[in-house]
Amino acid sequence: MTKKHAFLLLTHAVFLSGCVMLKTYEARPLPPGIETTLRSYQAGGALGDAIRESRVLAEHYQHKLAPVLIEMHQSAKIVGQDKQSRLLAQARGQTASMTVIAGKVRSSWLRYQTSIAGAGGEKAMAAEIGLRLSERCLSLLDRTRRMLDLTEGYIRAGVEKNLSYLSPGNQRQFNREMTALDAASVALLSEYEALVAALQNLRRH
């Protein structure tokens, strides 16, 4: 066996086993009770709109985007390009529609902020948290999009046998994006907890 044969065998073996050290995290679900608290909160006017939009956002994340991301994480080890491509398309569609909802959340909290202009205390605090929530959600979705693009690169490389894509640089970038994505989702969930706490404060006063 010459060196050439050894190299050929090795490259084939790498492809067939798919041994690239990619680190993926499971999407984090919302803490229990957040949705029900948001649903049970009775308010009218701009605040009611803002809370309803925030609840729609939470439900979209919990029931539409997170399940797809969890399934992607679980099927990452399986060599089945068809399934992965389908999940990828689903995740992209859900991410895009969640971006539109997050934009609505942002504008509804902005409306609430202008409607309480001058008022301080709990109301201003709630508006501030709501705006921060929408910003964090938008940055989480941007991160998700980048992660999905890199994932598509790996699926494509597997289909087209493009060994040059499996470089350490791409691997580092993927792992870096994935860690940042996990941190961004933790930030979003903690912001939701803060929002619920702020709303309960508002109800008490």
């Binding site: 044969h5 492809f15 398309a89 971006t99 940055s139 494509r156 087209e160 040059s164």
Partner: protein, 167 residues
């Protein structure tokens, strides 16, 4: 003895990997329209420039693909508005020669890690002659695929997505 063992193994592995070789076809998905309060819901134009290695025909092809991707996401191009201008610079690193492509196609196999099209992109938005934002995610981005058609679609989709999600 070794050759006796390794040759069949190499043949089997080659057949296995050639059997599932092909061109990646992305699944289509629905894209909602960009919210109107998004900073790039309207842009005042698309400028595609090339550094080197890109022919005029390829630049035009890319321009068309990019406009189609923007349209798919509901991003409007209004020449007479005060909106930002999108500037995309292409830098072709390597183009596959037609002869090599024909040879590969005739053999019906895909050779791992073989030559293909490679590209780097620089994406910026400008307003009134001033740089607004430089999308640094494209800095260390290298797209490499066997077909130029597939590549221009996926790169223009990525650029349009960057605008869609930008804040």
């Amino acid at each position: 003895m070794r050759a006796f063992l390794f040759r069949p193994l190499a043949i089997i592995l080659s057949v296995l990997s050639a059997g599932c070789a092909g061109t990646y076809r992305p699944v289509d998905y629905d894209m909602p329209s960009i919210p109107s309060d998004s900073p790039y819901a309207v842009i005042s134009g698309v400028q595609v420039t090339a550094k080197d290695g890109v022919s005029n025909q390829e630049m035009n092809d890319f321009d068309v693909a990019l406009r189609r991707a923007l349209e798919h996401r509901g991003i409007r191009v209004d020449l007479f508005s005060d909106a930002p201008l999108l500037n995309v610079q292409l830098h072709r690193l390597h183009a596959e020669s037609p002869a090599w492509y024909a040879a590969k196609y005739a053999l019906g196999i895909s050779i791992p890690g073989s030559s293909s099209n490679a590209i780097t992109v620089q994406m910026e938005t400008w307003r009134h002659g001033r740089l607004l934002k430089r999308f640094d995610e494209f800095d260390d981005y290298r797209e490499k695929t066997p077909s130029w058609d597939a590549m221009k679609t996926s790169v223009s989709n990525r650029i349009a997505d960057a605008l869609f999600y930008a804040r």
